[in-house]
């Protein structure tokens, strides 16, 4: 089972990212589950969403305490919330930021967790280019897909168009396509 935890802020489409990942995995023929860290958070408050992907039916409903994958949609959370809590030793961390990982003041964490692979890329900027709005969620999902191959690009695209029918969906697929290329070109394959 792959357990994914997504951090962001209310209004950034964090829950949608989890849904898209689960839906894409389902389209790939896997079992998948997505749910938010339920709360009464308003726009801007830190929020968390979870996704589990497995070849077996998923019965657990506890929050993801020990993520294999951490998607951080808002890098301002890095030093506000303990986003790394319970991280698996060989976890993948993907951060939405225009800065390189080395410039995110995470040296201590990186040194202490040599097995963790951490990447950053400007998902908001890429979304801004096509959508005119800095939604990083599509970028995080697409980036995860292309880095790990755990969900197929085709299924991610299909999930996007199912979730967002019409023009918005098309634009978001364009964002995803750009992210696939960007990540493939700029980040090392896991």
């Amino acid at each position: 089972m792959i357990q994914i935890r997504i951090h962001g802020r209310g209004g950034q489409g964090v829950v949608t990212a989890a849904e898209l990942l689960a839906l894409a995995a389902f389209r790939d023929g896997k079992e998948a589950q997505a749910f938010p860290s339920f709360g009464s958070e308003r726009t801007g408050a830190p929020v968390t969403a979870f996704c589990r992907i497995d070849s077996q039916p998923i019965r657990s409903r506890e929050p993801v305490y020990h993520p294999d994958v951490l998607l951080i949609q808002d890098s301002t959370l890095l030093h506000q919330v303990d986003v790394f809590a319970g991280l698996a030793q060989s976890a993948l961390v993907l951060i939405n930021s225009t800065r390189h990982v080395d410039a995110l003041h995470l040296t201590d964490f990186v040194t202490q967790h040599p097995g963790v692979q951490m990447y950053s890329f400007p998902a908001s900027d890429l979304a801004m280019k096509h959508l005119g709005r800095p939604f990083a969620n599509i970028g995080m999902v697409a980036g995860y897909a292309v880095l790990t191959g755990e969900v197929s690009k085709a299924s991610v695209n299909q999930a996007i168009t199912e979730k967002f029918p019409g023009k918005i969906g098309e634009l978001n697929v364009t964002v995803a396509a750009e992210v696939y290329d960007y990540v493939a070109a700029n980040l090392a394959k896991v």
Partner: protein, 417 residues
């Protein structure tokens, strides 16, 4: 057709296929996604001539359904927590009048302190109101139980609550096999009421009943629940015949044969419990679990049958009878009267506190090795409690307890989960 869908939307889909005629709804989290979806379906003309009323309160919502049901309409609403308590008087009334209303409870804690997260305090507060109470373990079952609930309600002329864990199920996206209209129509006949307001055949409904007859009327309500103990398995089987999957019934067992310790719970936590059972069995612990599907009527006989031979039952319940302890465990103890078996109460998951598999496993081991205090509170922060108790003893005006505890525990949001 299998779909990856939010629990609330799946339930709304199922309810719409049941061809309800009147729905009256009032918003309260976490039930809102269900009624929002239904309101859209009705407005879009996907639910026949169904009337969707936006009403002024939960009390109004159920009252509207009382009138509509007495007029012979198939009726539905959803609520939770404070909303269920606000409609309490009508909850008893609907059952007393024998009106086959179906209501989803998106289970949530009851305040104060105000808390929007999941536990079972709300439906437990209405457990003796005369409604049947069915608990879903996952969203597939939530869908299936709603379809069964309409048939059950109408066959018995008795209202049914379908309880599904708020947020944990209502807001979870997972794979659900959505039924088709043809399947639902094959399973659920047209509603034929046993009593109806009809100008051609006028009757009085809701007359006053004095001491000379009240007990008999109440017994007949009880008798409906006794019949439900037979109807629930029968209708579950009938469901399986059409939908080709097992859903509902009085209870579901998991590795209970030859289990020495059996965990018992209601609702979605049974998923985590099954994972815990698997892990424990791998380590050689002879454990199993029971998921109660029907809480009202309480399946005492079925329970006695499946726990035969076990030494211990650990009831994990998301509620608290303040001043006493367990609610479900009391029912279990009563059902097992005379059976030589230890019944432990574990109060867990209150107000949305997650019930981690690791904690379940630890508790089972602790129970088997050392025994548990009665009741046992899972993962309680004793430090915070003891500090607050000390404070309260030290000063008369110690202030509001919830705020004090929050201060003890630290700012919300600082923790990632």
């Amino acid at each position: 057709m299998k779909q990856h869908i939010e629990g609330s939307q799946a339930v709304a889909h199922a309810v719409a296929l049941c061809r309800p005629e009147v729905m009256a709804c009032y918003p309260i989290s976490p039930q809102t996604h269900i009624v929002e979806t239904l309101s859209r379906k009705v407005k879009a003309g996907e639910v026949g001539n169904c009337q969707f009323l936006n009403v002024e309160s939960e009390f109004g919502a159920l009252s509207v359904l009382i009138g509509a049901s007495a007029m012979g309409a198939r009726t539905y609403t959803a609520t939770t927590s404070q909303g269920l308590l606000f409609m309490a008087e009508a909850v008893y009334n609907a059952a007393g009048l024998g009106l086959p209303i179906v209501m989803t409870i998106a289970n949530r804690a009851v305040g104060a302190p105000i808390n929007i997260w999941n536990d079972h305090s709300d439906s437990m507060s209405m457990r003796d109101a005369g409604w049947l109470q069915l608990f879903a373990e996952d969203n597939q079952e939530a869908v299936d139980l709603h379809i069964q609930a309409f048939r059950l309600a109408e066959e018995l002329s008795c209202p049914v609550m379908v309880c599904m864990d708020g947020y944990i199920l209502t807001h979870a996206y997972e794979v659900v096999d959505l039924p088709t209209q043809e399947q639902v129509d094959a399973y659920l006949p047209v509603f034929e009421p046993v009593q109806v307001l009809d100008p051609q055949d006028p009757v009085s409904i809701g007359a006053m009943v004095g001491p000379e007859a009240f007990a008999e009327v109440r017994y007949l309500a009880h008798n409906k629940h006794l019949r439900a103990l037979e109807e629930i398995p029968r209708l579950s089987q009938a469901f399986q015949d059409i939908f080709q999957r097992s859903s509902g019934g009085l209870l579901k067992t998991y590795h209970t044969d030859e289990a020495e310790t059996i965990l018992l719970a209601l609702g979605s936590v049974n998923g985590t419990i099954k994972d815990a059972v698997d892990d424990l069995r791998e380590e050689g612990w002879p454990v199993g679990s029971i998921a109660l599907r029907a809480y009202r009527p309480f399946p005492s006989h079925a329970l006695r049958h499946v726990v035969k031979g076990a030494k211990r039952i650990i009831v994990i319940e998301k509620d608290l009878a303040v001043g006493k302890g367990g609610i479900v465990s009391s029912d279990v103890k009563m059902a097992l009267q005379g059976v030589p078996i230890i019944v432990d109460t574990v109060i867990a998951g209150l107000g949305g506190r997650s019930i981690p598999k690791a904690s379940v496993i630890d508790t089972v081991k602790q129970a088997c090795l050392e025994g548990l205090e009665e009741p046992h509170f899972l993962d309680l922060n004793w430090d915070a409690i003891n500090r607050e108790l000390t404070r309260q003893q030290a000063q008369r005006r110690s202030g509001p307890t919830p705020e004090n505890i929050l201060r003890e525990i630290g700012a919300p949001g600082a923790s990632p989960i």
